[in-house]
């Protein structure tokens, strides 16, 4: 069964079918590619730091070269994680009402978590030097 026939079956609105479904698929892959680059950036950055103690980490995240990619990492990782969990919910939660509520709840948690993480990063980047 094609993706579009499947979409029609599970009751996705007309506006989200056809061309838009392809757009959505492309967007998911663009976020994935961004996640790939930022994941490699985080790993490489942590390996190159002289230590993983609080002072070294806060100095690293105070500079733009640490803080800017970290802000992007937070946004992309929560978006990509939410995209993935949505696919899992779509596949395994059969009831339309439960699926709607669960995806709504996950979206709230993801946006809330990203907000908390960005606030912590802002405190590090703009706070008084330790």
């Amino acid at each position: 069964m094609s993706k579009i026939e499947n979409a029609a079956k599970v009751g996705i609105p007309d506006a989200f079918q056809g061309h838009q479904l392809g757009e959505h698929w492309i967007r998911e892959r663009q976020w994935s590619a961004a996640m790939l680059l930022l994941g490699i950036w985080l790993l490489a950055s942590l390996l190159m730091l002289p230590g993983l103690d609080q002072r070294t980490l806060s100095e690293w995240l105070r500079g733009a070269s640490g803080a800017v990619p970290m802000a992007l990492f937070i946004i992309v990782s929560f978006k990509h994680g939410l995209d993935g969990l949505k696919v899992v919910v779509d596949d395994y939660v059969q009831d339309d009402g439960n699926r709607f509520l669960l995806i709504g709840l996950l979206s709230f948690i993801a946006i809330g978590g990203a907000g908390i993480a960005l606030f912590a990063l802002a405190r590090i980047a703009f706070g008084a030097a330790a």
């Binding site: 994935s32 590619a33 996640m35 994941g39 980490l57 939410l82 993935g84």
Partner: protein, 131 residues
């Protein structure tokens, strides 16, 4: 709820013979789920602890050195490598390439071998440095 209960549910785990492609597909989901929940929770805790100062960070550092914490961190790092490598494989497969049986199987296996090797190399580096 119009589903006919006599029809099997996807992904028919009981009727297929296990192969690398199937294992990697399942691992990609499981590691993605684990990273979304445990990985992102850890990211928030870690950033909040750095922002909170040396005292707040000491709690996280103590948890990271505890044997249970260490196992969780090793697990998350393996999930990261597995999801990263199988994710790269998926991006290639999404272009329509790599579906030949032998090629598909080899790259599926390579992601598993790669994620284990990278996890060992990472922790040999961290624990070897005495951090």
């Amino acid at each position: 709820m119009a589903r006919n209960p006599s029809r099997p549910l996807s992904p028919h785990l009981t009727v297929w013979r296990w192969g690398p492609g199937m294992v990697v597909s399942i691992l990609h989901r499981v590691t993605g789920g684990a990273l979304s929940v445990a990985g992102l929770a850890l990211l928030v805790w870690w950033l909040a602890a750095i922002a909170g100062g040396p005292a707040a960070f000491a709690d996280l550092a103590a948890a990271a050195k505890h044997p249970v914490g260490l196992i969780v961190l090793i697990g998350i790092s393996w999930a990261f490598f597995q999801h990263l490598l199988s994710g790269m494989r998926h991006l290639v497969l999404d272009t329509g390439a790599g579906y030949e049986l032998g090629t598909n199987k080899s790259w599926a296996l390579a992601t598993i071998v790669g994620s284990i090797a990278l996890t060992i190399a990472l922790w040999a580096n961290i624990l070897g440095a005495g951090a």
